[in-house]
Symmetry: C2
Amino acid sequence: MADRKPEVEVVSPKRARTITDLARLAGVSPGTVSRALGGKRELVSTKTREKIEALAREHGFQLNQMASRLRRQKTGVIGVVIPLGHDRHQQISDTFFMTLLGYLADELTNHGYDLMLRRVIPDQDEDWLDRFIGSGMVEGVLVIGQSDQFDRIDEVADGYMPMVVWGNHKEGQRHCVVGTDNRLGGRLAAERLIAAGAKKLMFLGSSEPIEFAARYAGAKAVADKMGVSLGILPTHLNPDEAAGEIAEYLSANQITFDGVFAASDILAVACMKVLQERGVTVPDQIKLVGFDDLPIAAQTQPALTTVKQDIATGAKSMVNLLLRRIAGEGTESLVLPPTLVRRQSA
Amino acid sequence: MADRKPEVEVVSPKRARTITDLARLAGVSPGTVSRALGGKRELVSTKTREKIEALAREHGFQLNQMASRLRRQKTGVIGVVIPLGHDRHQQISDTFFMTLLGYLADELTNHGYDLMLRRVIPDQDEDWLDRFIGSGMVEGVLVIGQSDQFDRIDEVADGYMPMVVWGNHKEGQRHCVVGTDNRLGGRLAAERLIAAGAKKLMFLGSSEPIEFAARYAGAKAVADKMGVSLGILPTHLNPDEAAGEIAEYLSANQITFDGVFAASDILAVACMKVLQERGVTVPDQIKLVGFDDLPIAAQTQPALTTVKQDIATGAKSMVNLLLRRIAGEGTESLVLPPTLVRRQSA
DNA sequence: CGATTGATTGCAAACGTTTGCAAGAAAGCT
DNA sequence: AGCTTTCTTGCAAACGTTTGCAATCAATCG
């Protein structure tokens, strides 16, 4: 005997909670009810199936997913992790990641999966990834952004197939990643700035995250080839802080550049505002190119020329690859080509 | 006998998957392992506990959450639903909801809960809410935005305590809601516009969602009292569509207003752009007030005066109320006062 | 030294499904 | 009628934990 004494037999419970309740009502065995309601519908005669379905509706019966999933060893849940590596509060409002998350939610739903979201702060939690994977709650994991956790992710990937990461691809890495060709994006941006007449370029943002470093590298390659300069104006990624830093820089230095490549649209918008406040006109005096093509890019005045990451396709691809990995297939990483969206700022 | 024949006894499995594996390794019973690793640590002697913990680490053992949760009848998961009522694609990029989601994720994590995200399209799925609740996967539900599902939510609330909804409060409703006092927000906006000198106001956006209707109503009350007019310029909530609609309106009509209250910051930004494109200056010719105080509000040129919803507090409150409801406590709805953030646009 | 107490541990029954196997019923065939 | 074959259904064993109860053993007490 365990923790609960068996209850008195209830003749006609108003609400059927378990499959056994329903079986009693229908005068069949629990197994039959399971078959009638679950995946193996064709194994039960039409007549009994319909009776059971009617009773289920009538008594508001819902299958207990916990039990079902335990038995079937399938959870139907995909874990989505956002590691907050560099700066905890930067990412809270990171529109790009949130938008990606939205599309992932859509896509997973379409495939019948639920989405379990977890935000982790790796510094405070050594084995965040193992814990999530080993919990038995998720059939696969999507990681949004590698943050500064590249190595840990790469390590885990050896022993754990069903994981796909959003981020920059790096030669020789072992985990499957979907991301934009940031280098190419950087090239497109620099090319546009130069084509628009800029001679002295400035990269705006941090070059620490691997994605941003690649954007810078791409721009640098073009700049070198075309014989124009490319400086770096380092800022935080949070627009408020960045605005202050840009303003400070402009106060302290002569404006020695005529083209700005911002590491993200968020930074581009902040930059545009600071410039306008000082009476510098965009694009006349300074050309400006962003990155991401967030909705806001079309809403600035002048509208922002930017390098577009196709978030919808990215999300679709991540889910697609993950499902194939869950099925046991080995998959390669996927690098998506960005495109230049030309508006007014450059 | 069921589906799997029992495997040959493995003497020293490289990786302990189940608590029973570990028990065999440690030479104790599964129950003891469970106690050593689970909540009842003090029931097992220090010596055996340490031995078991060491073995667990060594063999990379992780408790199977599925089984644990089934047995304990606790899932440790809170469901978060975003019903996409009006316009499917509006919400994908709805920054406000996404930001709220971010804070909810933080707050739930702090309390040891996981977050299961589900986006539903009520039109295509009659009993979205019952299905989620009855799945046995979640201990409570947070609904982000009532969309047009007010009645269905209210209905469900009678029989299901652990649910908290973000949205507008309505007299006599039965479900527990946390939200901003939209009416007051509308008042603040109108008061500011009038104080800034506007005489003819225009409400921008749809008044169909209940939240927006309340914002309009609040503004209307002030307008009436102060003897200024308040028109409505109906738009979609998506900035791209809205921009087109605003432009169209301006082309077809004389500009008969000098103050705009936009139903959201997103719309305000779109409006500002359209005005600026036509050479109308903000705030000189037209005053503009938004709603939400999204990060973008500080980044426009001129910076947007707006009615701030305190998202962080909202998220904290939702989680707090939900936990109390899970504990069986009946809780009242909570209406948070918005504040006016005065910047340059009005 | 026997009896009482307290600390550890093992046993086995749940939690609510799913599903292989086999039995019984119905139908088809010779 | 007898024998196969095909449908339906019931039985009971899992899935991997947790936990009430009881048993064991050492320690304490009178």
